[in-house]
Symmetry: C2
Amino acid sequence: MHTLAVTDGRVLRPDGRVTTDDVLIDADAGTIEAIGPDLEGDEVLDASGGLVMPGLVNAHTHVSMTLLRGYADDKPLDAWLREDIWPVEEELTDDDIEAGAELGVLEMIRSGTTAFADMYFAMDRVADVVERAGVRARLGRGIVTVGKDHEEARADLEDGVEFATTYDGAADGRIHTAVMPHSLTTVEESILEEAADLAAAHDLPVHLHANETESEVDPIVSERGIRPIEYADDRGVLGPSSFLAHGVHLDDSEIARLAERGTAVVHCPASNMKLASGIAPVQRLREAGVTVGIGTDGAASNNDLDLFDEMRDAAMVGKLAAADASAVPAPAVVEMATSGGAEAIGVPGGRIEAGAAADLIVVDLESPHLTPAHDLVSHLAYAVRGSDVRHTVCDGSVLMRDREVTTLDADAVMERAGSVAADLVARAE
Amino acid sequence: MHTLAVTDGRVLRPDGRVTTDDVLIDADAGTIEAIGPDLEGDEVLDASGGLVMPGLVNAHTHVSMTLLRGYADDKPLDAWLREDIWPVEEELTDDDIEAGAELGVLEMIRSGTTAFADMYFAMDRVADVVERAGVRARLGRGIVTVGKDHEEARADLEDGVEFATTYDGAADGRIHTAVMPHSLTTVEESILEEAADLAAAHDLPVHLHANETESEVDPIVSERGIRPIEYADDRGVLGPSSFLAHGVHLDDSEIARLAERGTAVVHCPASNMKLASGIAPVQRLREAGVTVGIGTDGAASNNDLDLFDEMRDAAMVGKLAAADASAVPAPAVVEMATSGGAEAIGVPGGRIEAGAAADLIVVDLESPHLTPAHDLVSHLAYAVRGSDVRHTVCDGSVLMRDREVTTLDADAVMERAGSVAADLVARAE
């Protein structure tokens, strides 16, 4: 057994306590072996002056869209998609998607994210990046049927299911998959039902966008006379492994339905603000017992993949939505970004405890902006940012040591992404 | 003339264009001498791979409250003040205030802020820190009369006016002052009027909190039958040099009145979200022609002094408030954080142009989270953070070079602040 000792730091425990301990990792098994004083390992990761905490889980993103960071801002969702994003996406090659995934995964490792859920295209190329970079992910090909005839729509579904069944368990189990119909309004009813059936048959989760904007809710209500979550449930989409992105416009009956089915919601506060979609009722969802994770959505509507930013956004905007400054407190956002996110997307990690997956990060605490240290959990929610992450460990392997990413060549990734993005935009214009 | 050349970077011009130029600074005069190719100076500041832009202006804060960062979170404004903040503030010594100011100014220099407006107590000690640290500030003693008899209230006013008249122009002109009655509900009517009269007599601005929460608006409306901005105007508080913090709850008549009087508003989006106060109508204020700056408020309700965070918050939440994703676009937040803020608080700076004050920063652009570079102004609003600032220059002097602050000893400041904060909290409990 090859071991890694994370030494001399403070440790954030699952119950919110912060203790002064070492953490011993079984690097072969990828698990936490022990937590306690004076642990020795074959290899040492210095955590002095730092906090050892679970790696963050970005529970909804489109990592390859990092290529479009800052390409089009300050426009509403519909116009932004139609005028800017979709025309560029039509020009995307598989190589572009890989380059974008490398850039996004690099940014996530540097800002403390060890696992993410991703919906996009050419997902074999994204899976390749996940394998090389050493992170954990739940991946799925986005299935969209709008503007397609039934045969094309079925082909899309088959591609999605083929990717999911082929890649589930890849990269020594770090890659998980899901069947990912894009949304309730961009996938035709029969394909949505088939997607849910096939996911169940293969024991895979369903992941989709839901209730993001009012313009997505209204047609379902007016055409079918029911709310979107009821429609989704009737199609068989909801269940204990399913997870929905956004959930901005949810009424009480929908929240109750999600709680009853055990379906998780991924809160994407920055994207929902930036596209003026609204604010998800996170406090009400949590009170109803719904598991809530946090996602950045794509960098084109954020514009970064720093989950610490997103935690701060979640805490801030949660108070606005509830008109209550005690809503969505610091411990809740830390939980949503770690164990809540891991549970929502169904991956290991999210807890520093013996036997858990060794997905953890060390956050530097000795900075002016983190002084004084009245409350470290408050700092995680409100003051820490991705650039404070010193080391990143996933599945027992060190992915970043002293801010140097070990599994990707940062300069090469940035150069490739910059060049690919410039070519892509030139082709689309 | 001693000159400083900021070389090989890109330069953000006042009209929003980004050019590739050097910037030559007359360090003795503290002004920008020239912008153009191949400029040579006695001293060089390398801006290669970076963007030269105006230093940021934090237009409303209480810098010494940095000592209380994370001390009490997730509570509404009234309870937070009564139960947590005021009891600790009663224990504050002048030394504590100086230690907190050092910590906050250190954090601001490191995150690219070169000027700030501050309202607090023991302002001579804050002024001392401003002088030593090399930043620019508009300072004022907070005048509060609630719970005081008329003699005590007058003494408070006199202290405030004495500080303002004594320190205006100090630190070679880097220190400006104002008369700062705390708010419309915490200062009695006659003292508010006297404060306005004395400010006018001494040609000083008035700065105060206004329309921050509904619970501050309601008593004025119910007791006086007029809105707070009308009440303020009747007391003589408004005018072209005055600036108000928050302005969350403003109706159209109040916005029109502010525009008419030329009174600026300082938007504090993070604090207003965190205390669930609401969202200021920034888009409507700007459309009405009101000058808007951006402030962090104190770190106890934020919990940092990073104005890049605040710019992102302003862009995000501005869209929510207007229910329009095109509201408060990236160029607007950059303007509010630079020239708008400088204008709001009445200090030089905010523009990179010949003759302007040499208050500028260099932002590193070569990071994964700033790749690709479709639009640098978008990056400034949505993706850059304080830790990307490489150099900070104020009044022609280098305050931070390659992330090393030159005017304050960062380790000593953090150690002092940590120890002082722990003692302070122990005394209050």
